[in-house]
């Protein structure tokens, strides 16, 4: 059964997977060229000091890539299930709805993990060429809230798409947004040093929120 679901999910998301991998590679290449140009056009030490003292995040172009990819993925993965309430067919399978929903989410999360890894590896490569290890490490740590926002917004969007009523969809958008926005408040490197742990722990709650809309879908709730 898992294999069959995996195949079904793959059919839905394969173009998004390909597209997002290309987009992220494109952005990374752009940032790499951009950093290279900085170093060609300016005194390299001044670029270093600028990045360290002014705390400019040269990779801030990547800020919304994880969340954007995550939202597109969740929409592509769950909207076909909602057309004519097709997903309700799953309820006739000898497979619990909890298991199937969590497995579907798991596939999406695995894909976002892939995007996160590509992003981190790309930044590490760019940093290792032009920047001291301290700055490279700061870049890898400082993107973590953005990556967390990717995972969280994937889970939130899935729940929003799966819910059968527009009223709940609207409420979910409104009520999940302030928390997700909290992950984009940085002005420089390392600023989530003392809070990323708490944000991560709260984010774990997003892991199971899809089950409630799934239940409402099965029960045909419209409230």
């Amino acid at each position: 059964m898992y294999k069959a679901i995996l195949y079904k999910e793959w059919l839905k998301i394969r173009w998004v997977v390909l597209g997002s991998v290309l987009v992220i590679l494109g952005f990374l290449m752009y940032i790499g060229l951009n950093v290279r140009q900085y170093f060609e056009m300016n005194d390299p030490i001044k670029v270093w000091i600028y990045l360290i003292q002014k705390k400019v995040l040269y990779y801030s172009l990547l800020k919304f890539i994880p969340i954007f990819t995550a939202i597109v993925l969740a929409i592509v993965q769950f909207t076909p299930e909602m057309a004519k309430k097709r997903y309700r067919l799953t309820f006739h399978l000898p497979f619990s709805e909890t298991k199937s929903l969590l497995f579907m989410s798991g596939i999406g999360l695995a894909f976002i993990l892939l995007i996160a890894i590509i992003l981190l590896v790309g930044l590490a490569i760019i940093g290792s060429i032009y920047l001291p290890a301290e700055v490279t490490i700061s870049s890898l740590i400082s993107v973590l809230p953005w990556l967390l926002a990717g995972f969280v917004s994937y889970l939130a969007t899935s729940a929003i798409v799966l819910d059968p009523s527009w009223k709940y969809r609207l409420l979910f958008v409104l009520f999940f947004a302030p928390f997700i926005q909290s992950l984009f408040l940085e002005n420089g490197y390392y600023e989530y040093k003392y809070s990323i742990g708490i944000y991560f722990l709260i984010s774990l709650l997003f892991g199971i929120i899809i089950l409630f809309p799934g239940y409402r879908l099965r029960k045909g709730s419209v409230k």
Binding site: D43, P44, I45, K46, V47, W48, I49, I52, Q53, K55, T98, I129, Y130, L131, P132, E134, V135, S138, P145, A159, Y168, L171, F172, F175, F176, A177, P178, F179, S182, L185, E186, N187, G188, Y189, Y190, E191, Y192, K193, Y194, S195, I198, Y199, I202, L205, F206, G207, I208, I209, I210, L211, F212, G214, Y215, R216, K219, S221, K223
Partner: protein, 415 residues
């Protein structure tokens, strides 16, 4: 069962979001700026003069501690060391004050400011710095090609090749070791900019809490153990590089002491400040041709201490005003919201997730929220209160936030 747990995790998330969103919206509407009074010591009347803002508008009145009031021009005339450009323009800049001949250039040469803000102590900073040539043949400071780090040895990194320059690292490593430096460095303080009058290099605290002074003179290392006691618990150093050359740097200790490192063989001078709290207050240390003024304040009190050249106290002034927590709008907020999530704060550069509780007043809001929840659930929704008992527990803990969450995200008829 899983669906029920899922609903509660949604409700907790909604509560978290609301405790960010609602207080933010509330203060967007009701917040007002806190106008810290300007307090200065006048060398003319030898008294403090200060401003007051009337009725929250921009009309300022100018007073001294004897109750005399001044207009704007005569107020500025009392403070020649702050407003000398205006006084010169009006032709009223005194020729001498306390027997000292005064001119604009004299004032400028003998003036110095040091500012401390509480967020300086709460900001991430990568400890990599350039070492300047401090006695170059050329007038302007020049940016070197390397930056140094001090881990288990000192290393110079060439920015052009992004690699360690071993020859330079060896020389400086030896200089540090000879002075008894214990690796790694705990803290490095200096100004990595060429836009300063001259270069004094870096003050570095080693693993044994000794303070070292490192700079480059004619291409060679200059490194001294300053002999500053290791038990001071220094948390912050700001190197000054001011042409007055009275002190190299100002330090703040964990005990909120403020110490100057003087040019006289690194002798320490303690500033006479009491109950200064570095984490909560901003401080301005002003030196003019005659007096030194230390002013420190938070959002409810200000202290101003005037000292002479030998750092003896001449006069002090204190003023307090209504703190924000005592505002009516704060009291209303406290009764509406049992707590709020503080994510950003003017006293730190870090992003936070602090739950700030609002005290007993919150009980008003909690009882109100419980009442509304029970009424809506029984009368409007016609739910059986016993079925989803956790809903009421959540409202009892989170008040308005929880009430909105459980009333909007309604329970289903569970399996």
């Amino acid at each position: 069962m899983t669906a029920k747990i899922s609903r509660y995790s949604i409700i907790i998330l909604v509560t978290v979001s609301l405790s960010i969103l609602l207080p933010n919206l509330y203060w967007m509407i009701f917040d007002k700026p806190i106008r810290t009074p300007q307090v200065s010591f006048s060398p003319i009347i030898k008294d403090f003069v200060f401003t007051q803002t009337k009725n929250n508008n921009d009309d300022k009145i100018y007073l001294d501690t004897q109750g005399n009031s001044y207009d704007r021009k005569s107020y500025q005339a009392l403070l020649p060391f702050s407003y000398y450009y205006n006084l010169e323009r009006w032709g009223v800049l005194p020729d001498t004050i306390e027997g000292i001949p005064i001119s604009i250039s004299y004032i400028r040469r003998n003036t110095q400011f040091v500012r401390l803000r509480s967020y300086y102590f709460h900001t991430p900073m990568i400890q990599l710095y350039p070492l300047f040539e401090s006695q170059s043949d050329f007038a302007r400071l020049e940016m070197p090609n390397e930056m140094f780090r001090i881990t288990n040895r000192i290393e110079f990194l060439d920015a052009r090749t992004n690699s360690v320059v071993d020859s330079l690292s060896e020389i400086y490593n030896l200089a540090l070791v000879e002075q008894g430096f214990q690796f790694p460095a705990r803290y490095i303080a200096g100004n990595p900019t060429t836009r300063k009058a001259f270069d004094e290099g870096y003050f570095i605290i080693d693993a044994a809490n000794s303070v070292f002074h490192l700079k480059q003179i004619k291409g060679k290392p200059y490194c001294v153990n300053t002999g500053i006691p290791a038990n001071l618990n220094i948390r912050y150093i700001t190197v000054q590089e001011n042409s007055r050359r009275e002190f190299y740097a100002l330090m703040v200790t964990r005990e909120n002491e403020i110490l100057l490192i003087s040019y006289d063989n690194y002798k320490l001078i303690r500033l006479p400040v009491d109950d200064f709290i570095a984490d909560e207050m901003d401080l301005l240390f002003t030196i003019d041709p005659i007096y030194r003024t230390i002013k420190y304040f938070n959002d409810q009190e200000l202290k101003c201490i005037v000292i002479d050249k030998d750092y003896n106290i001449i006069d002090t002034y204190e003023t307090i005003w209504l703190p924000k927590t005592e505002w009516t709008s704060s009291k209303i907020a406290a009764s509406l919201f049992p707590f709020q999530v503080e994510r950003e704060n003017a006293r730190t550069d870090y992003v936070l997730f602090n739950l700030k509780f609002n005290g007993w007043l919150a009980l008003i809001g909690i009882f109100l929220a419980l009442g509304i929840t029970v009424i809506v659930k029984t009368v409007v929704y016609r739910e059986n209160l016993k079925e989803n008992r956790f809903d009421l527990l959540i409202v009892a803990v989170t008040g308005l936030y929880g009430a909105l969450a459980v009333l909007l995200i309604r329970p289903e008829p569970w399996d």
